[in-house]
């Protein structure tokens, strides 16, 4: 029974220290030094919050680059992140992918479909697509906006990030940034 007091007292002290003081102190430091990031890297257009720079959102119009299919809620539900978790021999997965490649074909994509554009991401909120997935959409977006394909392709390159140190991660195109840049370009 000698252990009862230390067990209860230390648990209470750890709760105060690591459960209350630690997160509140980190919140204070974060809100002081990196307020914008601590609040979720929000993008604003005047009063309106357009989204978060880190979180993917849905685009369906032909004039925008489309993001990846999403299994979060009804799609890009940023309050219910999720992957499909479908296994590789799942008939449902094959059906879904077949339907998506079919839709992309109707939208003018020819040749093999870049894998990321027809598969659901892990979070359902993936803000990126691969350079290949952007490339197959350039012609459609350029036509819908009356822009030159070279101009749109250049904008894609501008919004492509490379792997960390050339090693960690894969090349990725930021869909929201790219689409906002397109809107700015068309507005001018």
């Amino acid at each position: 029974m000698e252990h009862v007091r230390p067990a209860i007292v230390l648990l209470a002290l750890f709760t105060l220290l690591t459960g209350i003081a630690y997160p509140l102190a980190v919140t204070g430091i974060g809100q002081t030094l990196f307020a914008d990031k601590a609040d979720g890297s929000l993008i604003r257009d005047g009063e309106r919050v357009v989204g978060s720079r880190l979180i993917g959102q849905s685009f369906t119009g032909p004039a925008y680059f489309w993001p990846r299919p999403s299994a979060a809620g009804d799609g890009y539900d940023a309050a219910a992140s999720s992957g499909s978790n479908l296994g590789p021999t799942s008939a449902a997965l094959v059906e879904q992918v077949t339907a998506r490649t079919g839709q992309l074909r109707e939208a003018g994509v020819t040749g093999p479909v870049p894998a990321d554009l027809a598969t659901a991401s892990a979070s359902g909120l993936d803000p990126h697509i691969s350079p290949a997935a952007a490339a197959v959409q350039v012609a459609r977006v350029a036509a819908a906006r009356g822009l030159g394909e070279a101009q749109v392709a250049a904008l894609v390159r501008e919004h492509t990030q490379q792997p960390l140190l050339g090693l960690f991660g894969a090349p990725a195109v930021h869909v929201l940034d790219l689409n906002l840049a397109l809107d700015r370009l068309t507005r001018q």
């Binding site: 690591t18 030094l33 989204g51 590789p88 894998a115 990126h128 792997p163």
Partner: protein
Amino acid sequence: MEPFPSSPALWTGLAQIVVFAGLIVLLARPVGGYLARVYAGERTLLSPVLAPLETGFYALAGVRPDRDMGWKSYALAVLMFSAASTALLYAILRFQHLLPLNPQGFGGLAPDLAFNTAVSFVTNTNWQSYGGETTMGHFAQMAGLTVQNFASAAVGMALALAFIRAFARQNASGIGNFWADLTRGVLYVLLPLSVLAAVAFIAMGVPQTLAASVEATGVEGGSQTIALGPVASQLAIKMLGTNGGGFFNANSAHPFENPTNLSNLLQMLLIFVIGAGLTNTFGRMVGDTRQGWAILAAMGVLFVAGAVLLLVIESGANPALVAAGIDPALGNMEGKEVRFGIGASTLFATITTAASCGAVNAMHDSFLPLGGMIPLVNILLGEIIVGGVGAGLYGFLLFIVVAVFLAGLMVGRTPEYLGKKISAREVKLTLLAILCVPLAVLGFLALAAVSPDGLKGVQDAGPHGFTEMLYAVASAAGNNGSAFAGLTANSPFWNTGLAIAMLVGRFAMIVPMLAVAGALAAKPKVPESAGTFPTHGPLFVGLMVGVILIVGGLTFFPALALGPIAEHAAMLAGQTF
């Protein structure tokens, strides 16, 4: 498998494994030295600030930190602290609707879910039957889950130190003071590193706010509710303590919980850093650092083998999806994030399962059949490839007892390790500790596979559904916490069963392990002789790798054949379910 493909992504994928392993080797020595000083009660850089706090904690708790405990007392203290932790966390989860800081107004958790979650976080498993952003208020995340992220990790580290002392000491009646080990782990190791890591994560974009969510109106006019919260503070200790329980449902795949490849690299390093450092602490404390490096080398062989295999497998494509029109060039992208690609996704998956962390940045359920088998095998081998903080080292030391016993049988000598004669009692207790996990895994799996309540939660048909169940029980009993998340585990059957598996995997292993520690600490050290088997060279590393693979393989091969291996054959035959 196809001949080795030659895509550039594959070569960078291999290079990142080498660079990552190199970074861990570089970190092991300084971290190991720091841990050795902390647990010996020596002064460190942080003592001017933390020593008064430490003394105050001991005074309030009535602890005399220099009073050694025998193994029974140490075990009782661990059990008492874990029981109190489970009770408090269970209460917080059940009654979160009555507690402050619950801006979303979430209700209290159902009894089976609260029990499962409390056990899950106290056993350092962090299996999650719930989705974070749809279930947990801020108070439950902070004062409930985060506290156990610290405490359960510090318990694991304390147990490792106790076991190390058993080899370092001779003719000793005690193996350390649990309360001092626990307090020092939290104050000097986990807390300062977590503060640094949390601030770094915020600088990389991870949110840290008490707001619950923000309403956005997207570019095309659709509305989007973006869940927020104190993410960074929970994330830092989730990785450092190899806990793995995500703030969000998608865990470290969520762009808020892992925004960039820099945050991803930091997370991977945090998972391994303490576990790798403890091998060095071990070497220092037994007076021969080569012994620590030999352990890290054996872990390294198994780790690199798994990482390379998983990278190569997932760089391939699912033939059924290629037939549906997909370009195989990018690899298997279902359930993976573009910014991580195949390389950083598969490396993370290997690390998180080797280390009993369980955080995920890709959905293991959607890996190719043999790809999903790699994380599964990492877990089934006993969570000793670096392993959970502390738990990895004591698990590995138990395997060493088995290995030197086998080596002793082969040459007909009494087995010994570091001058300690290993007698029949220690071998029996070790086998008891090692066999409780397979017993929990295979026993509960068999029950689930014939029970309607067990099968109800399975999402995928065919062999993949079996693998979903196998992964869940392995993850629970191995105290890992990652999932083939297609399984809906939030039912009384799975919540209760998995909670029992987690308890067996943690405590049924700890108690015999401490008994072995007590017996070894009491023994004298016999001097080395010409017949002593050297335990710091390549032969020993090879023996360890062999023993681990043979014990794990013989135990689990039949289950793997029914799951991932059968599914691989079905995939090649073009069959879907």
